[in-house]
Point group: C2
Chain length 213, copies 2
DNA sequence: ATGGTTTTGTGAAAGTAATCACGAAAACTT
DNA sequence: AAGTTTTCGTGATTACTTTCACAAAACCAT
């Protein structure tokens, strides 16, 4: 396992590279340069080469990268073979959308259980995922380390404490609540309202620069 | 208007601060320190003070920040009064969730129109937002500068060209496609599959450090 | 008033990330 | 086979962001 020398910024781009390499393979392309890759994923080519270089010399000068080799390498590095089981808490608007989609294109993450309070949903399935009552959380969650949280913000803090107690290690938090967790639990916030507002702010306050390209 | 001296990292946190200050005001709190704010929004207190300092000296030493004053200041700075009208393209799983939610808590952004190809949806409303056929895009979009894109990835590039031609300036792109736009158009990518995979990667490869706190 | 306490605002330092730019290697071309 | 072109890998640089740490200001209690 490659030790934690890899910058976080790089780690966040790896799934992106992986997905595009997969596309290339489906198109039967055998080689790709950092320049081509750069145009496709919109990341500077030097950044891509630097990112790859943390894992060693994966390319060939004057040639580029071999798609299959690179893909195999990342498959191992990103543990694309191991399936990570994920639970979803809160089968509302957003939760339902995720269940229907279920990240099918990824072959390494899968929502396997969902929980809610609403009686009408309990016992049904969405996208093949069974929905349980939240009261069964302690009983049914153990073994699952990653949770997608799509409940009302007001419930987030209490639910988080519950999840942590059960042993959850990672939370993808879609609620606007900034939840508090012990240091061994990782939370990624995806705050859609903030994203939209930030985009609007940038449009109004940042001159439409002439970026290169 | 405060010129573009404000770091992007700061700009992205502003809506977060704003929302929390709003909460405080509803709780009738009159003052708040960077330390309190820090615990609530999970941003280092020095970072918060630095962020605020780009806008001048907004606080008082030994006291903190006056909630109402700060809120009024940011209301203007963030143009919270002006309503930005947004359109949504692609009323599928994700698009429907956004329409139902419609960022009601924000008072500065509102989805006012949606577009899709599916005959069954055209002419109906979701969350009060009328859904039009995509063929009417050129006719009905003008005036709207910001678009939320929730169509299949395969459609993204062509649709983007169309949007740019109509004059859209900002796109919140939920498709996995990395779309190409001219330099005067701003795109924010929210790639949910990547976010989930990145979280899983961090869990597996980054030791559960003892972060402070 | 006085003195201890709180908390800001910010220089300086540290940390993190992106980009430049070029030598070296390998690939193509003729 | 020699010359040209492509493209990597990376040292060095630049840019951006966070954090430390402390003087100065304002508060608060007596
Ligand atoms: N839908 C959006 O477009 C959107 C956008 C930005 C943010 N969000 C945030 O995402 C979260 C979910 O949004 P939504 O629109 O899906 O809301 P929703 O109200 O449609 O769904 C919430 C679901 O959680 C369930 N629930 C409530 N308390 C629960 C509990 N204690 N345990 C388990 N389930 C519980 C409810 O029964 C409901 O099904 C909210 O925090 C919201 O602020 C949503
Ligand atoms: N749902 C999720 O949880 C999820 C997660 C990650 C990424 N995404 C991405 O978000 C996007 C939308 O996902 P979804 O699950 O809502 O898909 P979906 O298939 O449910 O919805 C897509 C909608 O777009 C409409 N559409 C197709 N072509 C169109 C066109 N040219 N113009 C206008 N409308 C058109 C379809 O009729 C459909 O209603 C996809 O790109 C998907 O990869 C979704």
């Amino acid at each position: 396992m490659v030790k934690s020398k890899i910058p976080q910024a790089t780690a966040k781009r790896l799934p992106l590279y992986y997905r595009y390499l997969n596309n290339l393979q489906h198109q039967e392309k055998t080689r790709v340069s950092s320049k081509e890759l750069s145009e496709a994923v919109k990341v500077d080519s030097a950044t891509i080469r630097r990112d790859f270089s943390y894992f060693g010399a994966l390319g060939k000068k004057g040639y580029g990268y071999n798609v299959e080799y690179l893909l195999n390498f990342f498959r191992e590095t990103l543990d694309q073979d191991e399936l990570t089981e994920v639970a979803l808490i809160g089968v509302g608007n957003l939760g339902t959308a995720f269940l229907k989609y279920n990240f099918l294109k990824n072959n390494n993450t899968k929502i396997v259980k969902a929980f809610d309070t609403a009686g009408t949903k309990i016992g049904t399935e969405i996208g093949g995922v069974p929905i349980f009552h939240i009261d069964e959380l302690e009983e049914r969650l153990p073994g699952i380390k990653v949770v997608i949280l799509t409940i009302p913000a007001s419930e987030a803090e209490v639910m988080t404490e519950r999840l942590v107690k059960i042993g959850v290690e990672g939370i993808l938090n879609f609620t606007p609540a900034r939840i508090t967790v012990p240091s061994h639990v990782r939370v990624h916030h995806i705050d859609l309202a903030v994203e939209l507002q930030a985009l609007v702010y940038f449009l109004k306050h940042y001159p439409l620069e002439d970026k290169k390209e």
